[in-house]
């Protein structure tokens, strides 16, 4: 502060005094100036001490952080059971819930996600992942570990899939979709291409030659023969009854009522 400032301060003190004590104020002017100087010196000293202490503390912290001893101490502290117990207690206690509530209240996750999504960080991470062939490696690992098979088996065995399929099949949207597919030209073209393809006929040949199909056809043939034979049996027995009635009428014999029971079945 300059001399102008000091004169203003003294003038202000004089103005603040009552009119009768102006002489006393003039007499105390040197003391007042000395007091003011002392105050300024004290402030400068405190500031210098504070700056020096700050610099010293910073230097000390830097020295501590760079020292091997501090690193060893930190390692010991981190590796000590005390830290482990402290962390366990902290995790078991209400701290986690309180942190979670605060994170939700202050929308920490949303802010972090917003920052990541709007910035270039995500793009950079994706590019680096792509450059490192991370997707291919993940796919290889998934395929090698049989995760796909396990997942497919789990899905196929689950009742949820059946419910989902049933719901999808029962829905009117599926019906409309099927109608549109059936009426589309795409289906006709697909069928035409299928019929023209040689692979289809090879597949048909394979299926027709399979033992299951030949067995089924054989069973069908036997079933048809049984059906025909059954028809012949029924008609022949009706013809028997008619012929016998006619013969008995011609011979003027009483119609045969219930036939006597036959012999017991063949023991073999």
């Amino acid at each position: 502060m300059g001399k102008g400032g000091q004169a203003d301060e003294a003038g202000a003190e004089r103005a603040a005094m009552p009119g009768g004590s102006a002489l006393l104020a003039v007499a105390a002017l040197p003391a007042t100036g000395a007091l003011s100087l002392a105050r300024r010196a004290a402030r400068r000293t405190r500031r210098a001490v504070a700056d020096a202490a700050s610099e010293t503390a910073t230097a000390t912290v830097d020295a501590v952080l760079e020292s091997r001893t501090a690193e060893q101490l930190l390692g010991k502290v981190i590796g000590s059971p005390l830290v482990e117990r402290t962390l366990s207690r902290a995790l078991e206690g209400p701290l986690v819930e309180a942190l979670s509530r605060d994170m939700v209240r202050h929308a920490v996750l949303e802010r972090v996600a917003e920052t990541i999504l709007t910035g270039d960080a995500l793009e950079a991470v994706l590019e680096r992942a792509e450059a490192a062939e991370v997707p291919r490696r993940i796919a290889d690992r998934v395929l090698a570990d049989g995760i796909v098979e396990q997942t497919v088996a789990r899905v196929l065995e689950s009742a949820e899939l059946e419910r989902a399929v049933a719901a999808a099949l029962d829905s009117p949207a599926t019906e409309r979709l099927m109608v549109r597919v059936m009426e589309s030209r795409l289906l006709d073209e697909t069928v035409d291409r299928l019929l023209d393809s040689e692979e289809l006929w090879l597949l048909v040949q394979e299926i027709a030659d399979s033992p299951a199909v030949t067995d089924a056809i054989g069973r069908q043939g036997i079933g048809f023969a049984d059906q025909v034979a059954g028809g012949v049996r029924a008609r022949s027995r009706r013809a028997d009854a008619w012929l016998e009635r006619a013969a008995r009428r011609a011979l003027r014999r009483k119609p045969l009522g219930e036939l006597p029971p036959g012999p017991p079945p063949d023991p073999s």
Partner: protein, 165 residues
């Protein structure tokens, strides 16, 4: 001790299941016989055609042809006899009988005929056919639907439905 009017083996056993067998009539048996005749002749035809083709290539003399015809005739008769006797004596069902689900069995106990009785039945069938098939007419009026050949051989023809698989 008076003799029971029903043979012992035909008496119903209390624990035995009730029989549902019935005697089969002329038409059903005739169809079964026609199927058997078709099978016999089909087999004979295949064999005779094969042998005839072989002989046509070998070009035998007339005497050999005559002998082959005689052998073929005898073989046909033997084959026919063997066909019926074998089936009647074993399962009681020829293929034609099986198709029509009927069975030839002994009248007294329901078992299959002995070979001698089967042979007798076949011979009696031939005799029944000689007088314009008159020997089969008793089937129409007999209470057990037995023809003359059945009476001679002591046989009956009953239904034999195949059990459901």
């Amino acid at each position: 001790m008076s003799r029971s009017p029903v043979p012992a083996r035909l008496q119903t056993q209390p624990s035995a299941p009730a029989t549902t067998q019935v005697y089969e009539g002329l038409v059903t048996r005739g169809i079964a016989f026609a199927v058997d005749a078709a099978l016999i002749n089909l087999a004979a035809l295949i064999v005779s055609v094969s042998v005839g083709l072989a002989l046509s290539v070998l070009d035998p003399s007339n005497n050999l042809e005559t002998a082959a015809l005689a052998v073929a005739g005898v073989a046909y008769v033997v084959w026919t006899i063997a066909y019926f006797v074998t089936f009647w004596s074993t399962t009681g069902q020829t293929p034609g009988n099986r198709l029509l689900q009927i069975r030839v069995c002994r009248a007294r106990d329901g078992e299959a005929l002995r070979p001698r009785k089967s042979l007798l039945r076949l011979g009696a069938m031939v005799l029944c056919a000689l007088p314009l098939f008159a020997g089969f007419l008793p089937i129409l009026v007999n209470s057990r639907r037995r023809g003359l050949h059945d009476m001679i051989a002591g046989s009956v023809v009953v239904s034999a439905p195949v059990e459901a698989r």
